[in-house]
Amino acid sequence: MFDRRLVTHFDWSYLLLVVLVATIGIVNLYSATSSWTSAPPPVYLKQIYWLGFGLLLVAVMALFDYRHLEYFGFPLYLVNVLLLLAVLLVGKTSMGATRWISFAGFNVQPSELMKIIMIIALARYFSERGHLHGFSLRELLIPGLILGVPALLIMKQPDLGTALLVLFIGASMALFCGIRRSALIVLGLSAFGAAVGGWFLLHDYQKRRIMTFLNPENDPLGAGYHIIQSKIAVGSGGLSGLGFMQGTQSQLSFLPERHTDFAFSVFAEEWGLLGCLLLLALYLLIVLWGLHIALRASDRFGMFLALGVSAMLFWHIVVNLGMVIGLLPVVGVPLPLFSYGGTSMITTMAGIGLLLNVSMRRFMF
């Protein structure tokens, strides 16, 4: 079963790139949480453990042939949808949202899992139904349902950020697959209609986030606080930054959630524009490399798989950075490899594992 070519074809440089970014992230976490006096182990150490676990996951995800997933795509999808339903029924509530269920002693967050499963399911679907002229509206019904049902369930938790990400990932894959112009126009119009209508479905705190995004100074100590403080931190970094461990906004705790969603602000304050551009280039490389793997995949399923994972990474990065630098509303999306948290690390590394899986099997038929 084990093929020597697997080792030689394994994309070590890509993994190295990922580990490099994760290392920068851990160094940044060290600075972001240095003023904390919480109980050990410190956050950065825990993140190192998670990275180790993530690397194991990469190995696991890369070892088996991804093509087996083609057969499991839909069953996995169905199980995941059931899990999402279960969350709504018996989930654990924390901070006003219900996202977790306990499963044999583990806390599982099915909405995170859904990102990967969605990629697999849609890859399965689109790999079989490619279309020269693109999908028509009617043909989009099934992928729309595949995408829409879990997205709605996640939004119900409520977890707008994850729901949007799932939608973005699916939409990216569908767009790549091809959609007819007429269908695109109708979809665009109905998306606009849904946005207007959806406003009334949003929770108050979600509405407030969007309102404050549009005008953060309205509520500087309330909902606008995150955006203002983050912009101050990023902006005061300047060209070359204040230096490692010298970022006052983060060291003095003005920056909220600086170890999770706003970890990049800490980095931006301490390393400045030059550091940011370097990090941005590394992230872009991760995304483009993923697209390259998709292009070189040995089959359409592998291509869509890699494409989906690339889209997932791309949207996470863009939405998080956009939020941190005040281009997008605060929706609570972590920055892959950078924000502290096991969930984000597992999702990201599972995706990376899939990418490497596709990459190393590009010559095998």
């Binding site: 970094g237 292009l295 070189r296 040995s298």
Partner: protein, 623 residues
Amino acid sequence: MTLNPAPVDTPGLRRKFIVTSMLAAAVFLILALRLWHLQVLGVEHYRDLSERNRIRYLSIEPPRGSMFDRNGLLLIDNRPSFTISALRQEVGEREPLFAKLATLVEVSPDVLEERWRRLQHLPRYRSLPLVEDVDREVMERVQEHGVDLPGILVEVKPLRSYPFGDAAAHLIGYLGEITEEELHSADFSGSRSGDMVGKTGLERLFDGHLRGAAGQKRIEVNVRGKEMRQVTIREPLPGDRVYLTIDAGLQQAAEQALGEQAGAVVALDVHSGEVRAFVSRPSFDPALFARGIESDEWRALLDDPRTPLSNRVLRGQYPPGSTFKMVVALAALESGRVTPQTTHQCTGSMKLSQSYEYRCWKKEGHGTVDLHRALRESCDVWFYRVGLDIGIERIADAARRLGLGRPLGFPFGGERAGLIPDRAWKRQRFGTSWYDGETVIAAIGQGYILTTPLQLAAMTAAIANGGTVWQPQVVSRVENLAGETVWSSRPEALVTSDWEPSHLQAVRRAMQAVIQEPGGTAWRSQIKGLPYAGKTGTAQVVRLKDDDEPADSGEIPYRFRDHALFVAYAPADRPELAVAVIVEHGGSGSAAAAPMARMMLENYFGRQAREAAVDAPLPSGEQ
């Protein structure tokens, strides 16, 4: 790879991937441009905001200089106090904030709002003290809720403390916030808006020394306003130490002796004019002022009919009554027309004319009276006759030589001159000539004559020391932080009179008899083992009708009762201390005032005797 092309790698697909990659790169470019916008174009703006986020500059109030009594006992000190302050730049909406704070501090939100408004004139870098001197419990409550109180902080400030309460309050003076006018005056150069400065008394006179210099600190705070790091830019410099000439033990004894009665007590060192005790009652609590007096408290003090704010020692003008008789006696002896042996018959009254009869306090009369008896028993008739004999000009001259009728140059001024009338004054004041009847009553210290308690004490000291009127001193020296003396007093003689020693001696012997001999008006105030000299006085506030029996004082309304006076020096043979006591509407000098002087002298000399009796020096704390 071209040898083994992947089946999906078609030119069309390749183009699609290139477009997709370029789109992704374009989005990243937007992010990069935004970062450039924030970090390069906006860096100054955001750094400025960041500074404001984390740094507070606060001034550190210096502890005001302490004051000590002549033995180095701490009279006026500072203690740390907790003040709830507001930082204007960090306060958002006031109404909910003050509502929350008000329940924690247990004051009305209106009070906070009022304070906030009233303090708006303070410079921007100063915090606004909303509630001063809260207790520890309130302070902890406020700190606990710090997260909900943006812009509110608890400051620790040195606050004037008064271990002896309101003792010598009129001498020490009180503090108040500097006024706009004072800010521009040279006396307060170096003070800043919002400072507490000395308003009266020594606090005012030595403000420049006591003030010290404020320090400054930079505080880095976190988002909850919690201090993370504190950098002292400049240490505050405590004010200089002021050493008074006051004797704390004597001062306290005098305060207690006078108690709730209105009046004044002064004790002077006979040989230097140094003030040993300075009491004006009713008094006020200087601590009220130290923390910033509320307007209703201030109003209450101003409106109090007993005028607690007035400094009776310097500004209280009283008829000296019989304590003036030493002046007349000395004037008489100096005139050469009267000798200690000169006698007059006292029948209880003296008729000046058919219609004017002047009564002695002793209705049945003293019989044959000489100078010694006249002073000892305070015979009015003897002084009526002697006064008529020598005339008002000689009396007035002697009074002036003893320091009466003029301010004595008290360090912080504000003294009243008192009044020593003579013919010229009468003519100028009323445009009429002087009448004999006015000489008669002047001879017993009534009529136009007015003296301050300080003048009476200085007069007594002059009689005791041979005729020198010293300028009163209340501060012996001022020491800076390093212990160097930066100011010291110089005793200055205002009048050095060359009284004939035997004349002074005669008067002093008579004053001694007042205490020591039976029949002396204050013989009941003798102190065993301490012979001293004194003179009682009872000053009429209003003239009761001649034919009225002196009614029992209990039946006379308070404001018409006589002032009780007593002057004394001790010990009799080698005088050290001169004392003047005035009890407003206290009744007779011998019953009301003399016992107070006695209590003071017992305290002062009793302590000296005890200290002398112990060979080994006592621990310095023993007072």
